[in-house]
């Protein structure tokens, strides 16, 4: 039976800085010891507003980077897109504001024990957790290539320092405002056929993840996908964040993306059943 990330804790974290980067806010939190348990792919769940807020649920955000050096001790970085009321509230909070944070949550990306050729694919803010992942993979001796995509340039999150941790970085925008005009899956088939990819690590919209899986299907490439389903609790108690996932024996169950994910084996996720009725439900 799946369990919530054992290291998860609830704490009050101070905002150290909040900077705008393109369409995103880069928010740095002081989280102390928590950083020691954060792995690339984990996320945090943050309370919105005060006691009189009408927004009663936490919001989930991928951990973009952590550091335990620096003057503040452990710090954790988020890349937040101001989307609806909750994320807009978060983006409008200034320095020294205290946030109620639960984390680290969820299953992290699996790290290979031997050096492999890794391809990291991020859509929009989905790139946030990939740079930290790249560093870890690099340290393990992997070759790390990265492809980022977004509809337009301001939605590409690709920090300078992040670029240093990858062997190559390609950017695709749908409107061509940065990098190549197109989408992240455009070059994939060719790269796989050329034998340049052993593992794909992906994070982005469900549509993007499903498209990647389609290309990977039938090849030897392993696909670790970080999925994004609406979450009410983030800790496995509400059953809202489920996805249909096949077990070894082929039987499909609805797994919680907050504790059996967000990182899942792309080959196991039944992408075409997401949002569909299946099996004996009523």
């Amino acid at each position: 039976m799946s369990e919530i990330n054992r290291q998860a804790q609830q704490l009050s974290a101070t905002i150290l800085s909040n900077k705008r980067i393109g369409q995103y806010h880069q928010i740095l939190l002081n989280v102390g010891e928590m950083v020691r348990h954060c792995r690339p792919g984990n996320f945090v769940a943050i309370s919105i507003g005060d006691e009189s807020s009408a927004l009663v649920l936490r919001r989930a955000f991928a951990i973009s980077r952590v550091s335990d050096r620096g003057e503040y001790g452990g710090t954790l970085e988020l890349i937040v897109a101001p989307h609806g009321a909750g994320s807009r509230w978060l983006c409008s909070q200034g320095e020294n504001v205290e946030l109620d944070v639960v984390g680290p949550l969820g299953k992290a990306f699996g790290i290979p024990t031997t050096p492999v050729q890794a391809m990291l694919i991020g859509g929009a803010y989905g790139s946030a957790p990939l740079f930290g992942l790249a560093e870890v993979l690099k340290a393990r001796g992997c070759r790390v290539d990265m492809i980022l995509g977004a509809s337009t340039s301001s939605q590409v999150y690709a920090p300078l320092e992040g670029k240093r941790s990858v062997n190559s970085l390609k950017i695709y925008t749908e409107d061509g405002s940065t990098g190549t005009t197109g989408i992240v899956t455009d070059p994939l088939r060719e790269l796989i056929e050329a034998g340049q990819i052993d593992v794909i690590y992906s994070c982005g919209s469900m549509g993007m993840l499903a498209a990647i899986q389609k290309i990977v299907e039938g090849t030897d490439v392993v696909h670790q996908a970080s999925v994004e389903e609406a979450m009410a609790c983030g800790i496995g108690v509400c059953m809202t964040c489920v996805l249909p996932v096949a077990a070894e024996d082929g039987s499909v169950s609805m797994l919680r993306s907050c504790i059996d994910g967000p990182v899942m084996d792309g080959a196991r996720v039944k992408w075409d059943l997401v949002g569909e009725v299946f099996g004996a439900t009523s």
Partner: protein
């Protein structure tokens, strides 16, 4: 002062050290929460409504946030009674938790079959019968919305179960006369009632211009519905003062729990609040105890239904 305060409560013949419980479906099987606090420290764990067979539940999206609340349409996803009894219950009992098992069926027989499996399971405190499910034998009408069907379900469970385990019938607020439904299930053999399940609601996604939930409608919970819960508890306690009530609906603080207690609840389930705050149960429990002591109560039970004092004098 705290030492001499009696925080315990009972629901029929079941005793609990504190009146703060999880709400069915809002704490999964308990395990996930146990990381934030020991489950034995709260009054009881009410488990997610379990059915006879394993179920996938509804497709996603299964939830929508609403002003001071949320809609859910989980569709009773679960492992089925057998896996539940072999895996989850022993774990909870082992963890020292008081366990209230919630059951749900699509037919009157299914409820009775569930009761049959549960009958001999050791270590349970009570059984909550969630009758807010569609009755597949009767035009999909929700059991709890139909006085006859509600009665029939409880009658079946009572007969199967014998007299040991307290039966708490969980009612839906989506009815014209909740007192009549409560009266019916008590007559049919329930020892208490749980008030309230979620209200039927809908959110339309203004981007897609369609119902937001894959299941179209969902259950509304959270602080938004607290006034409806307080009203339902007050009405039922007024009409049936001896019937124990497990109250729930939008409790997020000790003050909120106190409101339901004053209305007549002998126990309080906390649901949606846990999603926003994993330690909500512990916080609420502490705040409620402090509040009761500050107000001069020497035992929790003295506060139950206290808002009704002098009801006659008021002419109510």
């Amino acid at each position: 002062m705290t030492n001499s305060f009696d925080f315990s409560t009972t629901l029929s013949n079941a005793w609990f050290p504190t009146p703060i419980f999880t709400a069915s479906g809002c704490a999964s099987s308990g395990r996930e929460l146990s990381q934030f606090f020991p489950l034995k420290n709260i009054g009881a764990v009410v488990t997610k409504s379990v059915m006879l067979k394993a179920r996938h539940g509804r497709p996603t999206p299964r939830m929508a946030e609403t002003p001071s609340g949320m809609l859910n349409s989980i569709g009773l996803q679960g492992p089925g009674i057998d896996a539940f009894l072999t895996k989850d219950v022993p774990w909870l009992v082992e963890a020292g938790a008081r366990v209230i098992v919630s059951i749900a069926g699509e037919t009157i027989d299914e409820y009775a079959s569930l009761a049959r499996r549960i009958r001999s399971v050791p270590g349970l405190s009570a059984i909550e019968v969630n009758i807010s499910c569609p009755n597949v034998e009767n035009r999909g009408l929700v059991f709890a919305c139909d006085p006859e069907a509600s009665r029939a379900v409880i009658d079946g469970v009572r007969k199967t179960l014998g007299g040991e385990l307290p039966i708490i019938a969980k009612l839906s607020p989506d009815v014209t006369d909740i007192v009549a439904i409560a009266r019916g299930v008590i007559e049919a053999g329930a020892d208490g009632v749980a008030l309230i399940n979620t209200l039927l609601g809908m959110v339309i996604n203004t981007e897609t211009m369609r119902p937001h939930l894959a299941g179209k409608t969902g259950g509304l919970s959270g602080p938004a519905i607290r006034p409806v819960a307080v009203r339902a508890i007050y009405q039922v306690h007024q009409a049936l003062p001896k019937v124990p009530i497990l109250g729930m609906g939008g409790v997020r603080s000790g003050r909120d729990a106190f409101e339901l207690v004053l209305a007549g609840a002998s126990g309080i389930s906390v649901g949606t609040a846990t999603f926003g705050n994993p330690t909500a149960l512990i916080d609420i429990q502490k705040q409620l105890q402090e509040l009761l002591i500050t107000k001069g109560f020497s035992s929790f039970r003295d506060a139950v239904g206290f808002a009704h004092r002098n009801d006659d004098v008021d002419g109510a």
